[in-house]
Structures are given as C-alpha cells and as structure tokens.
C-alpha cells in the first residue's frame, strides 16, 4: 500500500502548519499554481506507521550480514551519526561557515590531513559527493594537467576489463576514449597488452588495487613505470582501500591521484544508496587542479580556498562544499580508531575474507583465483553448478535471502562467469562467517538435490522474485492521481 492510498482529502498534520498572518500574498496570478500538488493528505501517525513498517522490509547492516563484494558493508558506529547530527553542526548555513562554523572547518581541515597520510598523497579535496564524482574529478584533473602542459594529443584512458563500470563512465564524462586492458588468468593486468596500449595518446590509467578480482596487483611498480614513462598518470580507484589501509599507501605504489569512498573504508552509512563522499587526493603535480572548495588554516582561523587561491582548479562539483555531514562521520570514525585501529581494519578484513574463502572452498565451491591470496574480498564461480544443475549465481543469491543473509554481489566482475563476489569486512565475527558458510553449503546441496528450491527463491521475503521484464517494458515510475479523481482543493 502506497502512502497515497492512505490519503484522505482534508486530513493533515495540523501541528506542522506555520501560523500565517494572512494568505493574500499579492503574487501575480499567471505565475501561481492552480491545483495543489498531489501530495498525500495524512496524519503523523499514518506517516510514522507507514514508514516504520516499510523500514522493516529492508535488510541492512543493523539487521543482517551483508557480504556484498566491493561495497565494504561494515558496521557504521552509532556515535558517528549522533555527533554529526548535533544541532551545533547541523544548523550551520553553508554561506556562514567561515563566520559561524569554525568548529566544522577544523574537523574538515584535520580530515584532509588524515586522508593525505592514509593515502600517501600531497593534498586532498573533500568536495566530491561520491566515489563516481571523485572519479570524474580525477579524470578532469588528469585532463587539466595535460592541457596545462599543452599536451593535447592524449585522448585515451586505459581501464582494465575487470574495472568498476564507473571507471569507463567517468572517463567518458571527462571526454576521454576508453581503452580496455585485458586481465591475465591469475587476475593481474596483462602487462604485454598494457605495453602495447600505452603510448603518446595515453592520458592515464585507472586501477583498483587490490583489483575488483580480489587480488593484489603486485606488479604495480612496473605498471606505474610503464605509464609514467609514456607520459600518462595513474588513477587509484579507492573502492578497495579497506584491504590495504595502513599497510600500503597508494602514493607509494606510484599513483598520482586517488579517490576514496568514505562510505566504504571509513564506515559512513550507505543509507540505501547514499549520500556517500568521494574525496580526492593528489601528488604535487596535480595539486593545482584539485576541486574547490578546500579548507585552509590561517592565523585568523580556518577558511575556504576559492578560485582566487586556486586559479587552475577544475572547479566546483556542488553548490557548496560537498557532503559535509558524511565527512564529519568519517572524521569521528578515524578519531575512534586511531592509527593502530585503522591498520587493523585491513588486517581483519583480510583475515575474514581468507577464512571465509577457505570455508567455502571446503564446502565445495570453486574460487576464481585459487592460487592467489584473497584481499578483503574474493570471487566464487558457480559455472559448474550451472552446467550440472541449471542453477545460476542469481539463484544462489536469492536463496541466501531465505537463509537470512544478504546476497553477495553477483555477475561482477563481468569476466568471471556466474560469479559471486564476497566481502565479509572486519566487523563481522567468526560465528557469522561460519553460519554463512553453512548456509552456502546447504544451498549447494539443495542445488544438486532440489534445484527448484533455488530457482524459485526467495520464498520467505516480503515479496518474491519480481517481474523485471514488465518493469522494463511498461515502466511504472510514479503514482498518479486517478484521472477521474475530484480535483483537490
């Protein structure tokens, strides 16, 4: 039932109406709305009951294990939310930050510093609102760098075929052609192919390390040398930084620019899809091009850096300064963990991944790169089960929901057929991993003995498998008032 179905003409949350002296506003009639917007007319109880019950239909970290590869669904500390939402932070108008928001600015300034240290970069801008915006930014800085050197021939960005879809999409938004680099059977970049691809047209390469295949690209120094020698730059997609936090610095691997996903590595909430935050870090040669604003410290306090300070900046990405509430949560997280705790993140994320991989291999699953150590995530392929029992990765995923576990990422990366990408994160305990492995083993047995159980799964969720074809062919994207409905007054 939609909230609109609960609406009754004349019902309202009366205590939310501001008191009006009078409603004659004197605005010109031809610019006015003629019929009220078709928003629901309900009481506060209707709203609270409707959305509370809706919330209960969600899986979430707070209720379920969420081994969603490449998404780093770790526990989001409650205190980070509580502190970031304090009225002292929430009430600051963005255009009054320098005069009324020195406390906010001090946190942002320190966060810039912490992220520099954690990435081995020279400077950081916190303004990108999400990983993809950080990527766009990184590409734009690469472009600005080459253009500033009057190096206009470089029109290609290299991207491994295993990369996140955002990498080529961001390169395209930056006006680049995308050239895919194949992957070796061991999961590393095909160096020979890279050598052939790299050249005077190469603006840069976008890499995740550990890669989306869940393994550490250990020839990264060679890759860096190759690209740099050709005049290109290296972009680090920070999606998998959780695997190496405090262990290896992207700057030390030779990367020139990096974006971070604070909603992954620094445990800010995913919120059902956002808001995230995607700060970018650069080494000295890209520093002039960082997006605005950034925070600087002076004797009179903290202040925003603007176009006057940074004339070569690629510009602004949002009307104000990005997702500050998210940045404050990440700041709190870093202060809670300290440098030792941040390093432990990578250690225990890696321990959990390798342990769970071992348990699942023992249970009879095929892993994509059996010879390799898993980073913080790993990939199973159920291609064999598909051949033998006609069950797919999607069927495994849906059946897991019945067992009370969120599904892993499926069908990514694209080059592993029928794959399940599993990232347990460091905040889950051994019993949960064991219970998940047991569920996977049980489903494997079901796949052989009663494959229909999987194909028709899930059975116990609020709804079952949806008609995606109908959703695509006849998209119903918005409720509309019934055509015959009396016009609302």
């Amino acid at each position: 039932m939609l909230i609109f179905d609960r609406s009754r003409e004349g019902r309202a949350c009366a205590s939310l109406f501001p008191r009006l002296p009078d409603d004659s506003h004197g605005l010109p009639g031809h610019l006015l709305r003629q019929t009220p917007p078709p928003l629901p007319e309900v009481t506060e109880l209707d709203v609270v009951r409707h959305y509370t019950r809706l919330s209960q239909k969600n899986f979430s970290i707070d209720t379920h294990f969420y081994p969603l590869g490449s998404c780093t669904m770790k526990y989001n500390p409650k205190v980070a939310n509580a502190l970031a939402r304090q009225p002292g932070f929430a009430a600051v108008h963005p255009l009054g930050t320098e005069r009324f928001g020195q406390g906010t600015l001090s946190c942002l300034y320190e966060l810039q510093d912490y992220l520099k240290t954690l990435t081995g970069m020279t400077a950081v801008s916190l303004s990108p609102a999400a990983g993809a915006q950080g990527e766009f930014c990184g590409v734009a800085m690469i472009r600005a760098y080459h253009e500033a050197r009057n190096d206009h021939e470089r029109n290609e960005i290299l991207v491994p075929d295993a990369a996140h879809g955002t990498n080529p999409a961001s390169a395209a938004m930056g006006g680049y052609h995308v050239r895919e680099i194949p992957t070796n059977p061991d999961g590393d970049v095909d160096l020979d192919a890279l050598k052939q691809a790299v050249g005077p047209k190469t603006a840069g390469i976008m890499l995740t390390n550990p890669s989306t295949l869940g393994v550490f690209e250990h020839r990264i120094p060679e890759i860096a040398a190759l690209v740099h020698e050709a005049g290109g730059l290296l972009y680090y997609d920070g999606a998998n930084l959780n695997a190496i936090l405090g262990k290896v610095l992207p700057g030390d691997m030779g990367f020139d620019v990096i974006h971070l996903n604070l909603h992954k590595t620094f445990s800010t909430p995913h919120g059902g899809g956002g808001p995230g935050a995607g700060p970018v870090g650069v080494n000295a040669r890209l520093q002039p091009f960082l997006p605005l604003p950034m925070v600087a410290k002076s004797e009179s306090g903290y202040r925003w850096l603007t176009e006057y300070d940074c004339p070569q900046s690629i510009g602004r990405l949002s009307a104000f300064a990005g997702n500050i509430g998210v940045l404050l949560r990440a700041y709190v997280y870093i202060r809670l963990l300290g440098y030792r705790g941040l390093r432990r993140v990578a250690e225990y994320a890696t321990l959990n991944a390798n342990y769970l991989q071992r348990k699942l291999v023992e249970a009879g699953f095929d892993t994509a790169f059996p010879a390799r150590r898993a980073a913080h995530e790993f990939i199973l392929s159920v291609q064999r089960q598909k051949k033998e029992h006609h069950v797919t990765a999607l069927d495994f995923a849906k059946r897991l929901l019945d067992y009370g576990f969120h599904a892993p990422t499926v069908y990514f990366p694209l080059l592993i057929p029928e794959c399940l990408m599993i990232e347990p994160t460091e905040t889950e305990n051994k019993e949960t991993l064991d219970a998940f492995a047991d569920a996977m083993a049980a489903i494997l047995k079901e796949a052989a003995e009663q494959p229909e159980r999987l194909k028709q799964a899930p059975h116990h969720t609020p709804i079952r498998r949806l008609d995606e074809v109908r959703a695509a062919r006849h998209p119903d994207l918005a409720w509309k008032p019934a055509p015959g409905a009396a016009p609302q007054r």
Partner: protein
Amino acid sequence: MPFIPHTEAEVRDMLAAIGAGSIDELFAEIPPELRCGELKNLPEALSEMAVCRLMEERAAENRSALCFAGAGAYEHYIPAAVWEIALRGEFYSAYTPYQAEASQGSLQVFYEYQSMMAGLMAMDVSNASLYDGASALGEAILMALRTNPDSRSRRVLLPRSLNPAYQRVARTLTRNQQVELVDLDYDRSLGRIAENALAAFEGEEFAAVVIPQPNYFGVLEEVDILADWAHRHGARSIAVVNPTAMALLKPPGEWGEHGADLACGEGQPLGIPLSAGGPYVGFLCSRQDFVHQLPGRLVGRTVDVDGRAGFTLALQPREQHIRRGKATSNICTNQGLMVTAATLYMALMGPKGLRGVAAACHANTSALLERLTRIEGVEPVFAAPFFHEAAIRLPRAADRVLAGLAERGILGGHVLSADYPELGDALLVCATETRNPEDIEFYAATLAEVLPC
C-alpha cells in the same frame, strides 16, 4: 579492538584454517618495499566518550546564528518525525537496493519520492535523486543534449539570474563534453531575465535554455514566455526550481504551452538540515519520452511471481554498471537517506502544509524587506515580484555590514558583489517560516545599529 570482534583464540583458529602463520602472512603478495610503517602522524585512538567531548567542543566552536541567508540553502522547520524515521537502522545502514526482495522498504520509499517530486513539478517522471541541485543541473544539461539529437547546436542559454554556484558547477561538469554555455543577462531594475537580452538571441539555435524559478535574486521569472521561447527555438527547456515554492507557484510541467522538458533543483528545503552545505539532494524530473536518457537511479513498480505489487530498480541499462562508458552518467548512487527524509517531509506536510510553508516564507520575506527598507539608506534592488528572497542595497560595504551583524549573532544574508559587481553593495536576504516578527525586528534594529559604524 574497536569494532573488531575477533578474540585471540578465534584468530588462531582462523589462521589455522587458512593455513597461515600470522595475519601479516596474508599480505605476502604485496611487494615488501611497498609496505608502509606505522602512520604515527595520525592521532591515537580516543574512547567514544573522549570523541564525544571533542566533538561537543567543536560543535560549540560553531556559533549559532539567527539566519537570514538563503542563496541556495534554506533554514526550514524539519518535523521531528522526519529524521526519527529516516535514521532507523534499516534505512541508515542499507545498501543500494540491488536485491529487490531484501530492499522493499527503501525501494517503495524511492518510488513514493519519485511520485511526489513528479507531482510537485507536474512532470511525468522523476529519478531517485542526484547529488545536489547544482550537479543535477549539470546532468540535466547533458541529458537535454542527449534528448535533442536533431539540434545542430550544442549551445545552452544560461541566465545570469541563475545561482552563480550552479553556473560554475554546470561549467565544471560539461566542460569536456563540447557544450557551450551562453550567458543570458538580467534586467538591472527588475532582477529577472532581460527581455532585450533574450530578443538579441532571436533566431539563433540553442540545444537548451535554463529557466530558474524563483531565480537567484528571489525574483519570479516570466516562465511561460521563456518556456515558449525555448520551444520555438527547438531548445529543451530546463527548469531550475525551488521545491517549496512549487506548492505556491506554477510548476514546470505547466509552463507555457507545452510545459518544461526537464525540471531540476535542490531538494534541501524538503527536510534536510543546512549542515554547512551537505549532504543535500538534487532532483531531476522529465517528460515521459525522455526517460531512457535520465541519469541516476530509477525505481519502478511491478509484480512478483505471486502477483503481489513490488518495487525494483528500473531501466538499469541506462546505468554505468551495465553500459559502462556509454551510460547516461557515471553516477552510481542516489542520495538515498536524503530522499527518505524528503519523502517523509513531503508526506508529513502534505499539500496544505507545504503551501503554508511557502506562503509563510513569502510573507516573512515581504515583512523583512518592508522593515529593512524603512532604514535610512537601505533600498530594494529589484522591483519585480519575489518568492522568499530579495536583494537590498546598503549605503556602505556589504561585507563589513555582514561582519558587524555576525558579531551580534546574525547571519545577515549573502553579499552579491563578488558575482554581480554591477549591483554595488547588495545583500541577498531571506526570511523563511522559521523567522518570527521578533527576529525580523531584531535584525532591523541591529542593522540600523551596525550601519552607521
């Protein structure tokens, strides 16, 4: 170990199962020369209690302000139920709803949001949000170009009366896409798009025209005329509107003879705290026939195998995780939590409540303008009708006046001279429904006190 559950015994057991001697051994594939030492210039861990005290001190370093600033971010009353519900763990800690069966809560909320936004804008469809209003405009411009392949032009008319921050972001986002953003000047006395400026472009070809309502100065544009002009010139019309205002003002879908083609803007006024600038939420609505060119998430209603209504991400082939370099955008999130809050806000306010907020904002800003311009030397800059912001001209340097007001706890508005030097010492002021008559009187009295200094 904060947030790490492992006991020593478990670590031993797990390493034994893996066949590794130590945790460090798990990192053996990393070339040793790449490994870093301890990052001791990061701080030591603090207890939660200590972090709370630290953050309370930082929050106290933020001074509270009586806010008369708008310029793209607005202080509105947020009903207590909004964040009480939006922050429930099931919404707060959920991922993007790829697994529909495990995400019906978020999916239905997003569908309801899309429905409400489409209804508020009188447009056919809305996406499930973008980062903020300014980036939504950037995406809207790129989308307008994609929907207008017949146009030989990649020129887009961008009014100077549009929020300058939006102009900047649009430039950043479209710079590498062979788009030409063309300035459209405003009338110095009316504060809206100048008729003669528009007339000067008569007969030229544009791919899109951007139409703000209200515009940056708070002034109402003649949207019917502008939308029809765009249509006559083969251009897509892109509305940039304030969502609160749309409870009172003619919505984009009804502009001119055909309605605007796209409508976008900042959703912050719909229940999102100011929070120094973010996270906010951008909205983007369009005509039905452009839906395959929409960027960002979309949720659709369908049925499950048992025939029950359910919700799922729709038209995913538009998106980067499927189409990669050829996607409609590189965006791969929406502002889910903000969308949830905005949905709750709109459901709570309803049509009457939202209209009441809009009317109160207009009334308060009218009262503010009337009161401030009674002060010697203070005068309105523009003569045309406005919504909930207005520019005033001051008899001395606006920035110093603002500093004087700030010392007395008032955020007095936003100085226009940096972006509009031609306006002199002009201040953009705003009084939403949160300002009461005493606040307005206090502002006026303080301004009168500060001005002569």
